[in-house]
């Protein structure tokens, strides 16, 4: 049996008996999973490779719909509706639930155009308005000082850590409700990693964050709640400190003490 705590905060997402099956898989890759995601908190997902962390995360912005044959079941409640509904408008949903990927995904265009991309999609054309929002987003992503003099230059000239912060600036520019991070530092050096972690802790003032990480120390450092997943199931969800110090489930304890994984 799993131990899933309830959160005292308002819930931005509510996952109810969620199941997910990849095209071509006979059994669900995520099984009967329920959990709350607290508003303005960081929720970390940990667990051994292949346990379904990425799969769960990519369900929250319906990324799996890009490929045919994937099946969802159950509910993910957001703003009072089930976003797994076939009638859900994915374009609007994705502007409200943004995503940062494992490898930086700077578009082949200038630094400015990268950050303005989502804003322009939403129809913002006014130049001074765009300038303001781009500058603010770059400042909030702690990269403004490094790029303010070369906004017109190709974003691919930035280092990996800078590109990842650029992607964060691009994602927060459209002011989403939730940001999903999938191992955002696994391709970065320790200093860039620290920068991203500080950023995550700061951003939760404004957005709710779900972060997948294979690094338990990272989960312990940045998150308020931690969920431990194993073989497509959520074994335990608890306050981060409690989960790491006094895990309720034997599997959780074995994982965090390094007995497997």
């Amino acid at each position: 049996m799993a131990t899933i705590i309830d959160v005292p905060e308002e819930k931005i997402l509510h996952v109810n008996n969620f199941e997910f099956t990849y095209a071509g898989s006979d059994v669900p890759n995520i099984k009967k999973l329920s959990m709350p995601i607290a508003k303005n908190c960081v929720t970390a997902l940990i667990g051994p490779s292949g346990c379904g962390k990425t799969t769960l995360l990519r369900s929250f912005n319906r990324m799996h719909d890009l490929y045919p044959g994937n099946k969802y079941a159950g509910e993910v409640l957001f703003e009072g509706r089930n976003i797994l509904d076939v009638k859900e408008d994915l374009i609007t949903l994705r502007t409200k639930i943004g995503m940062i990927f494992q490898k930086p995904t700077a578009f082949p265009m200038s630094i400015f155009d990268n950050v303005a991309y989502g804003l322009r999609l939403q129809g913002m054309k006014n130049r001074s308005e765009l300038n303001d929002r781009v500058e603010k987003s770059l400042k909030d992503a702690a990269i403004w000082n490094e790029v303010s003099t070369r906004l017109k230059q190709d974003a691919n000239g930035l280092s990996g850590g800078q590109q990842q912060r650029l992607c964060i600036a691009r994602a927060i520019a459209v002011e989403p409700e939730i940001l999903l991070f999938d191992e955002p530092t696994s391709a970065l050096d320790p200093i860039s990693t620290q920068g991203i972690e500080i950023l995550v802790s700061e951003l939760k003032e404004r957005v709710s964050i779900v972060i997948v990480t294979h690094n338990m120390q990272q989960a312990a450092r940045v998150s308020d709640y931690t969920g431990f997943m194993y073989l497509g199931e959520l074994i335990e969800l608890g306050q981060t400190e409690e989960l790491f110090v006094t895990p309720k489930e034997k599997l959780t304890e074995e994982y965090i003490t390094g007995k497997f994984g």
Binding site: L66, T105, P108, L121, V174
Partner: protein
């Protein structure tokens, strides 16, 4: 001989043989280029660009009709072939999602790329020239477009697939609709490669003679009506080079030289695009 000596000996033999083979191949290439440049430059003069064709023995004969005909035919072929090829390649890479139809299209276009171009000429002769009742520049352009499409389709397909799928996902994750993801992110990422494919496709058809013999045929005088038979550098070159008249043969050399330089520059520009991209 021990194992080490044997290995060195074999290495030396293979290296010598392959170097010699490469030199033989290269020497033929430079021989051809040398003869072409020597005869071509000798035959070049301003009159070639301002005079039309004339019977053998006339002083003021030129290639104006062939140069303009060639340009027109290749331009019309490009105008039809590039959008069709790029759009079809886009379908294969972005929309087909691994369907059977996509595999069939890829196989067929691979076959079409290696089909003898004279077969394409005969095909267009049968479906365009015969029903229309006469040769025409349009028929020539259609034949060249048919040759061009599979080349551009396959390079576009390949180049778009090289764009990492995480880049597409990142654009979708910002709420972009699919057509904007393709135009603003995927095309941008693959720009250099797709452009190179287009240039190589144009270069390839610009040197074709066989498909034009059946379709646009030839005209010794300037004609800009695509609905009529039309001269081209390749067919003119073929006619002049096989004629017994020395002044016509000289014009043939000039046509060969101009055409080769044109195709060579397209190839070089195409390769520069790719280099520039890799250098980044």
């Amino acid at each position: 001989m021990n194992y080490r000596q044997k290995r060195i000996a074999i290495n030396n033999i293979v290296m010598t043989l392959s170097t010699i083979s490469a030199l033989i191949g290269l020497s033929f290439l430079f021989w051809i280029l040398g003869v072409l440049i020597f005869n071509g430059i000798e035959a070049l003069n301003i009159g070639i660009f301002i005079n039309e064709g004339a019977p053998p023995g006339y002083e003021n004969s030129g290639l104006k009709q062939a140069l303009i005909g060639q340009l027109l035919i290749v331009m019309y072929a490009t105008a039809a072939g590039v959008p069709l090829g790029v759009l079809a390649g886009t379908y294969l890479s972005e929309y087909s999602q691994g369907s059977k139809l996509a595999e069939i299209i890829r196989d067929i276009s691979d076959i079409m790329m290696s089909a003898p171009s004279i077969v394409i000429g005969a095909f267009v002769y049968a479906i365009v020239v015969i029903p229309m009742g006469h040769f025409s520049g349009y028929a020539g352009a259609i034949a060249l477009a048919i040759i061009m499409i599979p080349i551009i389709l396959r390079t576009t397909d390949d180049m778009l697939q090289l764009v990492p799928s995480t880049l597409r996902e990142a654009a979708f994750a910002l709420g972009a609709p699919k057509y904007k993801v393709i135009i603003q992110v995927v095309y941008r990422g693959a720009r250099a490669g797709v452009l190179t494919g287009i240039l190589l496709g144009i270069a390839r058809v610009a040197g074709e003679t066989a498909p034009l013999l059946f379709t646009s045929f030839n005209d010794n005088f300037l004609n800009t009506d695509m609905n009529e038979a039309m001269a081209s550098l390749t067919v003119t070159m073929y006619n002049y080079a096989t004629s017994p008249y020395e002044d016509w043969q000289r014009l043939g050399w000039a046509a060969a030289f101009i055409l080769s330089m044109f195709i060579l520059s397209l190839n070089i520009i195409g390769r520069l695009f790719l280099l520039q991209k890799r250098g980044k």
